[in-house]
């Protein structure tokens, strides 16, 4: 399957330009969409999920413009929104069953099996009779995952899916994603760089409505490899370094600060370090050249 996005633009009524003419192509496999908050990720997700209409541009799935047939996208879509609610008075099992039926699976036996499998996978099987209103944040998030996977979505869009999950849950979810992504498009929208590095073959960096990087994940790291230099400095020196260098990232390190800078040659006092996707990401969104 192939999903093409062509010069997609969206401006909100309050003047915010969420997307400024984006072009992308997705094919089977996992695709990571990285970007800080407000980059336009969710807007893009929602447009693909038929919840919003672009001002310009189009989305083409297997050669068909979805503007004409949003229903065709919906048929193959699984969508986990960034934030969502539940019906407080309905149980997880009932709701999931209802959603699977709405996805068009009318065989009751198959529906029940699928519900059970999903609940099992999302570790909700023990609370399947509990009202959704009594779910904790993490449980709700897992319910969201279950409903997104329901049916057999060929296009799965997950927006910040691991927020609120503990490491074990997160791991399990990653396993599921990587397993099922073989024969479908999975778009993972996140600001957690690690998730993308672990899971995604292809990725893009979206910032202020524009695509700053688009390509393979390994290429992204290769881009900056050999040009990232590290130094450990005292906290009070940071202002000076900001003036002198363009700092890609800085993080606390044993009470001091470890800074990474981007340079084609080794700056004085810095030592080489193996580049990570994070370096590439921050370098890109900070537009350091």
């Amino acid at each position: 399957m192939k999903l093409e996005i062509q010069s997609l633009s969206k401006t909100y009524s309050n003047g915010v330009r969420a997307l400024k003419g984006i072009d992308m192509v997705f094919s089977n496999g996992m695709f990571g969409l990285l970007g800080p908050n407000g980059a336009g990720k969710s807007t893009l997700m929602r447009i693909i999920a038929t919840l919003q209409v672009p001002d310009q541009g189009c989305i083409i799935i297997d050669g068909k413009d979805i503007k004409q047939s949003r229903q065709d996208v919906r048929k193959i879509l699984g969508y986990l929104p960034q934030s969502f609610g539940v019906y407080p008075d309905v149980s997880a099992e009932e709701m999931l069953n209802h959603i699977i039926l709405l996805k068009g699976i009318r065989n009751k036996r198959k529906r029940n099996i699928l519900v059970e499998a999903l609940l099992e996978q999302t570790n909700l099987i023990d609370v399947r009779k509990r009202k959704l209103g009594g779910f904790s944040g993490g449980m709700k998030q897992r319910f969201g995952i279950a409903q997104a996977l329901a049916g057999n979505p060929e296009l799965l869009i997950v927006d910040e899916p691991t927020a609120g999950l503990d490491p074990e849950e997160r791991n399990r979810f990653h396993n599921i994603l990587s397993e099922i992504s073989e024969d479908r498009i999975v778009i993972l929208s996140t600001h957690i760089v690690d998730d993308v590095r672990q899971l995604c073959d292809q990725m893009a960096i979206l910032h202020e409505g524009e695509i700053l990087y688009y390509g393979r994940t390994v290429d992204a790291i290769d881009n900056v490899n050999g040009k990232i230099w590290q130094k450990i400095i005292n906290k009070d020196e940071i202002a000076d370094y900001h003036e002198q260098h363009e700092i890609v990232l800085s993080r606390l390190y044993a009470g001091k600060i470890c800074i990474h800078v981007y340079h084609s040659t080794q700056p004085e006092g810095f030592e080489p370090v193996e580049a990570d996707l994070e370096d590439m990401y921050f370098k890109t969104i900070k537009k350091i050249v």
Binding site: T50, K75, G104, N107
Partner: protein
């Protein structure tokens, strides 16, 4: 700081367009309400009087507080939002960490919301003020002297306390639940409380309670001005005292207390969502199904999109929505509360028709429930329309439900089905509670079939249609409140207000109908089905519209929705639309054909115009000499199955005037088809107007005084198709009941066809018109109460009807036979009588008794046999009594006949008394204090003498000689059967009704001698009171003797008819001189007393003898016709009665009282317990409950 927060809140509100739209709506609705006396002033009868000032202070107050009710839901929004704003947008963490005191925070928010609400609510007063400035629609003539105070007063006494009360409640609810939803439930409950209170207010015993549970003081205010006359209402400000003050204090107090508690208890701490507190159970067991298995499982399913899948999806949505609706606690609260009120109201009013206990027949239960459930269903439809359209978005569920591969129609119809299903469940609840009430009252003739036909046949459909409308509007407007307002405007009488009265304009309406056990729904069924079909087609179009615009996703802008529209437009939608449109047009054309082509359709305006035209065109003939009818012989053929009647016959006309007659003015019922009109003298037609039913002829030779002339006529009435309104329910399949004016042409201009409302007459440039001509009006004196064209006639009719029915008219049955499968009845009067006869036909059972050799019969629907014996008994008792007191009964028979419950009343014709199915036949006599049979039957039998034997002239006061004397007749029978206690309490209620009646007089109150048309409180209530008092002053025997003499002198009188003053003259002649002023005051003036006991003490003077001193006050006022009062020095003969501990009378004496404050001392034998002034309620006393005093006995000798 507090003002800063308040200003922030207020600014927030003012930035919203909706706030200003609400304000403008308040201004507009209030303006229209004031000038038209409708809408918010619907409850105030006198608001439509042309004598009432549009700026009468009590009207302004009523407007202000009733609009508070209308604005309750707006207040919900304002206060709910103000209290929960920070939670909703999850800014609480931010806001609550600022250095603000909670007093500032809560207080500021509250004040801000209160000011915004005040802004909207005071739109009512601005609207009223606008009437003063721009007095359109005839309001210019109704402006009183302007003063700003009456506009300001309601804001401070009415609106502000109301806002404090509802604001505090809503605010507290929103703060403690962090949600706005419970606030709406609170709003609905307050509205239901008002409904409950207004029901309680209908009964004097619970009136006080009603004042206390009506939080907005509509009813408490009504109690203060309840007995005011028009003159007082026009100028007087409502005093802040009594029930109004109490009400205001209570509710302001409650509001402030709640606020106080809120300030004390409010915590800034963030409350976590309950879900977060549930510790999560982490299961560590190994998964049976791994990711690979899941993947295989996912791949194994086959999504389908065939029709069967769609249906299953729709059903699943339906079930899911039903679950959500019924587990919604606010919905349950509204439903339980509403049902409770309906059952409560049912218990109070089912089984009571006009104060008469009645068997709770299903048709009656349904009537009462209709009121109670109407409001509930409307609220629920509005509530659910918002829930169904908005819940998913509110709960954040739509974000993953909207992209599911389900077409809009599956979603929308699934939701719609849930709405209709909920309404059906409520109908079942209504049915169950109706049957429950019937069973608790011991009524076991249950009619589940009728319940189902009524509740599911039409009413469920009606609310379903409103539901479709409400859902569609929510979709289109995409704003909850505006959606509600638009829905209400479409389905309420707003459209009617714009002059579009035909039911085809008002969504979901069908012509109004009434169920009768005699005919079922037959007369209406065609119309109901046709209109409902029409509306179903219209709503299918609505559904298509909703499908096209249903919001799915985030884009709610107009542009995006229109783009989406193009995507959604499909061939199948086109097909459905075309089919529905075709259906709608076909039904519309069919309805218009039936209602305006086959039948005559007129809007209210058109009727007025026709009346004006009639008067302008023909008034000039009112004074021209005309012929009188002296004999009637006719044949009336009723065809119940075809719903038609033919009336043909021959009248003998005589010139009874002193002038020669050359022209004849024939008037017929304008709906009737005139086939033939001919005279025995040579004549020619001058003018013919079917529209007015007028046919004018000129005679070739002049008819000199005393000459006669015959007239042949043939007129027909047939029901064709169906009508939009004013359905001719006189002519039906069973229980046809037509009057002489329907089937008999009559002679001369008919002033009863004129436009009556003087306000409207002015608009049409017509002179002011008295309801009746003045008592000395020459023309008026020539005719009697029935009309101008006949005094007494010889009457003979052959009636025919279908073979299973009986036909009845006045006169004695001479012969009856069968011929050609029809039944014939030949009636002939034995005595000449008034030309006022009914024509009745129905499938009746008959019961007969003989009284002094003449048959007394009752014709009734076979199932309604509960009271026929009692009714016959009361009739015979009345006949026996009046036969002695007045004069011998002249007719050869007496027939009581049941007619369908289209009108709830009894009537009288010579020898025939038609009684409504819904009145006497279903009345429950046992356990009644003063049974209906005696009150009503005696009254109607009394009419046989008044006016059918003694006919008063057709001038002011004519009702003295008919209704007042019929009431006296009833009093005589009641006195024969019941003791004084019953009569005293009955009289107390008459006084109340009179005082309430005169308070709602829109025109002028007249004394009894000049009593006018339509002033029932004068001729029924005050008339009976005055006769009761007079009987006491003169003594029953002396009074009856005077009346007997009057009847003897005027029975079947030819020539000038008597007037009220003639009878009063007889009273005066029978009375000593000392009572002449009293008679004058009773009948020719409007006098109102306020008598009150102050103190009573007694001392023992000898064994078993006490000297009792009684202090009391007598206040007496004379009112003019507009209610302006003038204080009089009392000069009255008043009863004083002393009772002992066992309520036995120890002493009873009349004293002349000449001062306001008095002390009377008298010696009584026996130990006095209670002493009272006028304890039997013979005077019209404003407060009848303060006339008694308990006697304090001192031991000192």
């Amino acid at each position: 700081m507090i003002w800063h927060i308040a200003a922030f809140e207020l600014k927030n509100r003012f930035n919203k367009v909706s706030t200003h739209i609400y304000f403008l709506l308040f201004v507009l609705i209030s303006y229209m309400g004031i000038v038209r006396g409708s809408g918010p002033l619907r409850m105030v009868g006198e608001a439509r009087s042309i004598h009432l000032f549009v700026n009468a202070p009590f009207i302004l107050y009523h407007l202000a507080v009733i609009m508070s009710y209308a604005g309750t839901l707006i207040a919900c929004a304002f206060f709910g939002k103000a209290a929960s704003r920070d939670y909703q947008y999850q800014t609480q963490g931010l806001f609550f960490s600022y250095p603000i005191t909670k007093m500032n925070y809560v207080g500021g928010r509250f004040i801000g919301a209160a000011l915004a609400t005040l802004y909207v609510f005071s739109g009512a007063m601005l609207g009223a003020l606008l009437v003063q400035i721009i007095p359109l629609f005839g309001a210019a003539d109704r402006l009183g002297i302007f003063s700003i105070w009456p506009y300001v007063y309601p804001i401070f006494v009415g609106i502000i306390p109301n806002i404090i009360f509802v604001g505090a409640i809503f605010f507290a609810m929103a703060i403690s639940t962090r949600k706005t939803m419970p606030v709406y439930t609170g709003g609905v409950i307050i509205l239901l409380m008002f409904l409950l209170a207004s029901r309680l207010a209908g009964h004097p015993d619970t009136r006080f309670l009603a004042n206390l549970i009506d939080p907005f003081s509509v009813l408490a205010a009504q109690s203060s001005y309840g007995f005011w006359a028009l003159a007082q209402k026009n100028i007087q400000l409502l005093p802040l005292s009594g029930p109004l003050l109490l009400n205001r204090l209570i509710f302001t107090g409650i509001g402030l207390t709640i606020l106080g508690i809120l300030f004390k208890r409010f915590q800034f701490a963030e409350v976590q969502e309950s879900g977060l507190n549930n510790p999560e159970k982490v299961s560590v067991k190994e998964k049976k199904i791994g990711p690979v298995a899941l993947k295989i499982m996912m791949q194994s399913v086959q999504p389908r999109d065939d029709f069967k899948t769609r249906l299953m999806q729709m059903f699943s949505i339906f079930i899911n929505e039903m679950k959500c609706i019924f587990s919604n606690k606010y919905f349950r609260a509204i439903l339980i509360m509403g049902t409770g009120i309906a059952i409560f109201a049912g218990f109070r009013s089912i089984g009571l028709v006009r104060g008469t206990p009645t068997y709770p027949a299903t048709s009656q239960v349904l009537d009462v429930f209709y009121d109670a459930y109407y409001f509930l269903l409307l609220v629920i439809v509005l509530f659910l329309s918002v829930e169904l359209i908005w819940r998913e978005r509110r709960e954040g569920v739509s974000i993953y439900l909207d992209p599911l591969p389900v077409p809009e129609w599956v979603v929308f119809i699934g939701k719609l089905a849930a709405l209709l299903g909920t309404l059906a469940v409520i109908q079942v609840i209504a049915m169950a509670s109706g049957i429950f009430i019937q069973l608790t009252q011991g009524y076991t003739h249950l009619e589940p079939g009728l319940y189902i036909r009524e509740l599911f046949g039409h009413r469920w459909l009606y609310f379903s249609l409103i539901g479709i409308l409400a859902l569609t509007v929510q979709v289109l407007v995409n704003h909850k409140f505006l959606g509600w307002i638009v829905t209400l405007l479409i389905c309420d009488d707003f459209i009617v207000m714009m002059g579009l009265e035909h039911n085809l304009w008002t969504f979901g309406q069908v012509p109004s109908y009434i169920y009768s056990d005699l005919v079922g729904y037959s007369p209406f069924i065609k119309a109901i089905v046709s209109y409902n079909l029409y509306w179903v087609f219209v709503s299918i179009l609505f559904i298509v519209l909703a499908l096209l615009f249903l919001v799915r996703g985030y884009d709610t802008g107009l542009k995006a929705r229109f783009i989406e529209l193009r995507n959604r437009w499909s061939r199948s939608k086109l097909g459905v639309s075309i089919t529905a449109l075709t259906g709608m047009i076909c039904m519309g054309v069919f309805i218009i054909h039936n209602t305006t082509v086959l039948n005559f359709y007129e809007s209210t305006k058109a009727v007025e115009k026709r009346q004006v035209e009639y008067e302008n065109e023909y008034k000039k003939f009112e004074n021209s000499p005309q012929l009188s009818t002296v004999s009637v012989s006719m044949a009336v053929d009723i065809f119940p199955d075809d719903i038609k009647v033919n009336s043909a016959g021959h009248l003998v006309l005589q010139n009874k005037s002193v002038d020669p007659v050359t022209e004849i003015f024939v008037q017929t019922f304008c709906v009737a088809q005139v086939e033939d009109l001919r005279f025995s003298r040579r004549h020619s037609l001058i003018e013919e107007s079917q529209r007015h039913g007028v046919y004018r002829y000129t005679l070739e030779e002049t008819l000199m005084p005393g000459d006669t002339c015959s007239m042949w006529f043939d007129i027909r009435i047939a029901q064709k198709g169906f009508q939009d309104r004013d359905v001719n329910t006189n002519l039906v399949q069973n229980g046809t009941s037509l009057g002489s004016n329907h089937l008999l042409p009559y002679i001369g201009y008919d002033r009863w066809l004129e436009l009556e409302d003087n306000g409207k007459r002015k608009k049409y440039d017509l002179p002011h018109r008295e309801r009746l001509p003045a008592i000395d009006d020459k023309l008026g004196l020539q005719g009697n109460i029935i009309g101008h064209d006949a005094e007494l006639v010889d009457y003979e009719t052959v009636m025919s009807t279908s073979s299973d029915q009986i036909a009845i008219t006045s006169g004695t049955l001479v012969k009856s036979w069968q011929e050609n499968g029809r039944r014939y009845f030949h009636y002939k009067s034995q005595h000449s009588m008034m030309k006022y006869v009914p024509f009745i036909s129905g499938r009746y059972a008959v019961k007969q008794r003989m009284w002094q050799g003449i048959p007394v019969e009752i014709y009734y629907h076979p199932q309604h046999d509960m009271n026929v014996d009692l009714m016959l008994d009361a009739t015979i008792q009345s006949l026996t009594l009046f036969d002695q007191v007045y004069s011998p009964y002249p007719y050869g028979s007496m027939k009581l006949v049941e007619f369908p419950r289209y009108e709830i009343m009894a009537e009288a014709y010579p020898g025939v008394i038609p009684i409504s199915e819904g009145y006497g036949f279903m009345a429950k006599f046992e356990g009644q204090e003063l049974p209906f049979a005696h009150r009503v039957m005696a009254h109607e039998v009394g009419h046989q003498w008044w006016p059918f034997i003694v006919a008063g002239a057709g001038v002011a006061g004519e009702f003295f000689l008919s209704e007042v004397m019929a009431q006296y007749s009833a009093l005589l029978v009641v006195q024969e059967s019941y003791d004084q206690d019953v009569i005293t309490s009955y009289m107390k209620r008459r006084i109340r009704s009179y005082l309430r009646g005169r308070a709602t007089e829109r025109d002028e109150e007249r004394p009894i001698s000049l009593v006018n048309f339509e002033t029932k409180y004068v001729f029924y209530e005050k008339g009976m009171m005055a006769m009761y008092a007079l009987q006491d002053y003169l003594g029953k025997a002396a009074l009856n003797q005077a009346i007997h003499q009057f009847v003897e002198d005027y029975a079947f009188h030819q020539g000038d008819a008597p007037v009220s003053l003639d009878l009063i003259r007889y009273f005066r002649e029978a009375a000593p001189d000392s009572l002449h002023t009293i008679i004058d005051e009773l009948f020719e003036q409007i006098i109102i007393y306020d008598n009150k006991s102050v103190k009573a003490s007694a001392k023992v003077i000898s064994e078993d003898q006490y000297e009792l001193c009684f202090e009391f006050i007598v206040q007496k006022v004379r009112c003019d016709e507009r209610g302006k009062e003038e204080k009089l020095r009392p000069h009255d003969l008043i009863d004083f009665v002393v009772f002992d501990d066992d309520d036995e009378i120890l002493y009873s004496q009349k004293y002349w009282i000449d001062a306001e404050e008095n002390t009377l001392c008298f010696i009584v034998n026996g130990k006095p317990a209670i002493v009272g002034i006028d304890p039997f309620c013979r005077l019209i006393d404003r407060h009848t409950d303060d006339n008694m005093a308990s006697v304090q006995i001192s031991d000192i000798k």
